[in-house]
């Protein structure tokens, strides 16, 4: 297989044409003993030393999705390295790495060819060097477990014996990839590279950074969205032991709320600087603040949803196939239903924090960010720095879920460090974290179907009304873009189809949340499809399969086609795995839903029991996933389980409500999430194929909520159209 991405994409990653020798560098092994070795750098991502250790840079932010293990596995595979002699080092932010962000389940999608190409180029020069030394044809050589092997003779040469010669050779322009059926590392259960550090508490998250002279800080912000600081009395706060200074953060001095599209600036507030986190927290509690709420909307949840409901009849058309009105007149019956989902917080376990050492020559940052490029751009915009004056370290991140796509907390920190001329570690309290999130947008969705005499859909209308995260984040284009767009399912499957969007303005800060728009739309789509099935006394899976029609490529938009066959396969498999066709006792029920996201196909069945008091117990979840090649089955299964539990947690409990313009929730006591005693059995199967690997962080999430709602209906006859359930 040849690399299909254009050369420009790879030019930086493979720019170092030969393995530059870094003499006298000490390489730290996993056991922390110091190994003296000469290291040859073949590419920004790949170094090999004379003791045979291969050092790979993990370039993307690790937020718990396992990318720090998965990307190096891909490099090691293509290189033919011995995984037991691979050392993985987290890369700092570096333009040379490219695509260095976590979002949209794109890391594997965007880096599969990129990692393989970088590695195949290095393999090429190792083979060339070996060919000369062994006097064998390159075509008869391969790499395996850190050696170049001549399989005919069994002769082998370890990489470390080839470094000198290989490093003098130019890296090739074009490469051939290893055939996927020869994989030795990709596809094998592989423990994450930080595992031992994690279970012994040694991993340094961003919140654990400590620098000489470092000052600790926290912030207090106006709980009312879009509000500011009026006046404040800090007399008491300054009397708290350890408090050093109190600083007002005023973002109007830095251009207002938005740094740029998709990248909100910080929110106005008051920062407390102290000699410990606890002193900073105590100082913040003692601040007496009169908040300025002039010009804010002072919204309430009920009012927001009322406006969403009214906007269902004042919409823009986002996609129009055929004519839904024609379908409506001609067909035997029409059916409609309205669904509602709430605002959701992200609540990563590691609260927002950042450490910045803003020196005259260099602004050095340790940030838990999914989006280091936005952080760099923010620093450039706020302080007029040049890229070379900024260094961004990317420590392991304690969860993100979309929250850390925005860099507001890092901007807070940089401003404070610059102001006081010392390193600052800023830690938000959990309360600030929940009250100043960029929430998953709430929405109201109206679904209308026209049905023929057999109950099948010929007309489909999906209207979504909400406040758009796109508008909130200052991105160009139609506000609908992040909420419902022309790619939404079932575009292409129904002849008369229309998607509409009703846009409402709100002060509630909005942003990406795992699975983005699909976390809301799939709930409406699959609840509705199950309702249609039941209306016609059909089994929901039978109905869905009939709805999909035969396995084929379905044109959706431009060149983009939906592979119905891959979706049908996961649906049929989950039907089998979940014992769907075996009846359950009274009070129990199964529900089904499926989706395609980031190129992956997922079908899920949730089994529940509902007692006479309407208490819901989730008994079991079955998921079947087709994400192409599974790079690391251990990490992949974890992503599926985690995505399902996140979808179920949100469906059961997740809700941020707004009163007088402020979030009513403030900590885990009133923002409930699933705990050990509520976790069902989860069975996961991956479809085995050799298709290119696709995203996995998000795809398992959206089907969980509708599958749960459909199961509750099957068990109790109660239809859930509004989330959260409890």
């Amino acid at each position: 297989m040849k690399s299909t991405l254009d050369r420009r994409t790879f030019v930086k990653l493979t720019a170092s044409a030969s393995g530059a020798l870094i003499a006298g560098v000490y390489l730290q092994s996993c056991e922390s003993e110091m190994i003296p070795a000469a290291i040859h750098e073949f590419s920004p991502l790949i170094k090999i030393d004379t003791d045979g250790w291969v050092t790979l840079i993990a370039k993307n932010p690790e937020i718990g999705q396992g990318i720090k293990t998965a990307l190096p596995m891909i490099i090691a595979e293509e290189l033919g390295a011995d995984w037991d002699k691979v050392k993985v080092v987290q890369g700092d932010f570096d333009e040379a790495y490219e695509e260095q962000w976590a979002g949209g389940s794109y890391a594997i999608v965007l880096n599969w060819d990129l990692m393989r190409t970088a590695a195949a180029k290095v393999r090429h020069v190792l083979l060339q060097a070996a060919s000369k030394k062994m006097n064998k044809k390159v075509s008869e050589l391969s790499t395996i477990k850190g050696k170049v092997l001549h399989s005919k003779s069994g002769e082998a040469m370890p990489f470390e014996t080839l470094l000198h010669e290989a490093s003098k050779l130019p890296l090739p322009e074009e490469v051939e990839f290893k055939p996927t059926d020869s994989f030795e590392i990709v596809g094998k259960n592989t423990s994450q590279v930080d595992l031992q550090q994690l279970v012994t508490g040694k991993t340094k998250f961003s919140i654990d950074v400590k620098l000489p002279e470092m000052v600790y800080a926290t912030v207090l912000k106006n709980p009312v969205f879009e509000g500011g600081v009026g006046s404040f009395d800090d007399t008491e706060a300054r009397m708290v032991n350890g408090v050093i200074d109190i600083v007002e953060l005023d973002n109007t001095a830095y251009g207002g709320r938005l740094l740029g599209a998709n990248s909100p600036n910080f929110v106005n507030g008051i920062a407390v600087l102290a000699n410990s986190t606890w002193s900073a927290f105590q100082g913040a509690r003692k601040l007496e603040v009169v908040w300025d709420t002039s010009g804010t909307r002072k919204e309430n949840t009920d009012g927001i949803f009322e406006r969403f409901h009214s906007q269902l009849t004042n919409t823009t058309i986002e996609r129009k196939d055929g004519d839904i009105h024609r379908a409506r007149k001609a067909e035997a019956s029409n059916f409609e239903a309205v669904y509602q989902v709430p605002f959701l917080a992200h609540i990563p376990m590691e609260p927002m924090n950042c450490t910045v050492d803003f020196r005259a020559d260099l602004c050095e940052v340790w940030a838990p960010t999914q989006n280091p490029k936005a952080l760099q751009e923010g620093l450039i915009k706020l302080f007029g720095l040049k890229p070379e004056q900024i260094k961004i370290h990317l420590p392991r991140i304690g969860g993100a879920f979309g929250r850390r796509y925005y860099v507001d907390y890092a901007m807070d920190t940089a401003i404070l460090s610059k102001k006081i001329g010392k390193p600052v570690k800023l830690t938000w309290t959990r309360e600030e974290d929940i009250q100043h999130d960029w929430y998953r947008p709430a929405s109201v969705q109206k679904m209308v179907a026209s049905l023929d005499e057999s109950g099948m859909v010929t007309g489909w209308q999906h209207i979504l009304a909400n406040a758009s995260r796109k508008t909130c984040l200052g991105r160009e284009g139609r506000p609908a873009g992040t909420e419902i767009d022309e790619y939404e399912f079932p575009a292409g499957f129904v002849p008369d189809l229309q998607f509409e969007y009703g846009h409402v303005m709100s002060d509630v800060p909005l942003g990406q949340w795992r699975a983005v728009g699909l976390s809301a739309t799939v709930f409406a789509i699959h609840s509705f499809l199950s309702e249609l099935a039941i209306l016609h006394n059909m089994d929901p899976i039978d109905y869905f399969l009939k709805f999909l029609g035969p396995a084929r490529m379905v044109p959706v938009v431009g060149d983009y086609e939906f592979d119905a066959g891959r979706l049908i396969e996961v649906v049929q498999k989950v039907r089998h795995n979940s014992n769907w066709d075996i009846p359950l006792p009274k009070g129990q029920g199964r529900g089904f839903a499926a989706t395609k996201l980031s190129g992956s196909f997922v079908a899920e069945v949730v089994t529940v029991s509902v007692d006479e008091n309407e208490n819901v117990t989730i008994l079991r979840v079955d998921a079947v996933v087709d994400c192409g090649i599974v790079v690391n089955p251990s990490g992949a299964k974890a992503q599926v389980e985690g995505g399902i539990l996140e979808g179920l947690s949100a469906a059961l409990y997740g809700e941020v409500t707004v009163k007088n313009g402020a979030a009513e929730q403030s900590n885990f006591h009133d923002y409930r999430w699933i705990r050990m005693d509520e976790v069902p059995e989860i069975h996961v199967e991956f479809v085995a194929n050799n298709l290119p690997p696709r995203g996995l962080g998000e795809p398992p999430l959206p089907p969980a909520a509708p599958a749960l709602a459909n199961a509750i209906f099957a068990a109790s006859g109660k239809r859930i159209r509004k989330l959260p359930i409890l």
Partner: protein, 154 residues
């Protein structure tokens, strides 16, 4: 500020602090034992779990003055070489996702197994439901506790 002497991971440490300072911040900011994490500051999420006199406690809600008399064990002191049966089981099953809550999970699990060498699923629910995992590693945590119990009982 008054001065206090604590016994942490079998070592006596003397620190200056306000009497209401939670143990969590003494561990993290004063002593550099950052394996114990801040999650909620209210004793709700369990991320800050340590052992005090052999019991799992929430260090974010315990003032320093309440832990002067006994032994405090943090994740850094749970075992000498990271080889406590719970840590080994965690490694065997590749439990963590983001990893942030895992010190708290491991300390809670070690506490459970020290008192109940063969916990049922129900026992695990009771002991572990106080420690929140946002990534959803619960299924592997449950399996790892059973695995550690089986190893201990051999």
């Amino acid at each position: 500020m008054p001065s206090y002497t604590l016994t942490i991971n079998a070592v006596k440490r003397t620190v200056s602090a306000d009497p209401d300072t939670p143990l969590l911040w003494i561990l993290r900011d004063t002593l550099g034992l950052t394996g114990t994490k801040y999650g909620c500051g209210k004793g709700i999420c369990g991320t800050c779990t340590v052992h005090y006199n052999g019991n799992a406690v929430r260090s974010c809600a315990l003032p320093i003055t309440s832990v002067l008399e006994g032994n405090i064990v943090t994740i850094e002191g749970l075992s000498e070489k990271g080889n406590h049966s719970v840590q080994q089981a965690w490694m065997k099953l590749d439990v963590p996702q983001c990893g942030y809550c895992q010190s708290g999970q491991i300390m809670a699990a070690a506490d459970l197994l020290s008192k109940n060498e063969n916990p049922t699923d129900k026992d695990i629910n009771v002991a572990m439901q106080g420690v929140l995992c946002r990534c959803g590693t619960y299924s592997r945590i449950r399996k790892a506790i059973h695995l550690a119990a089986n190893k201990q009982n051999k």
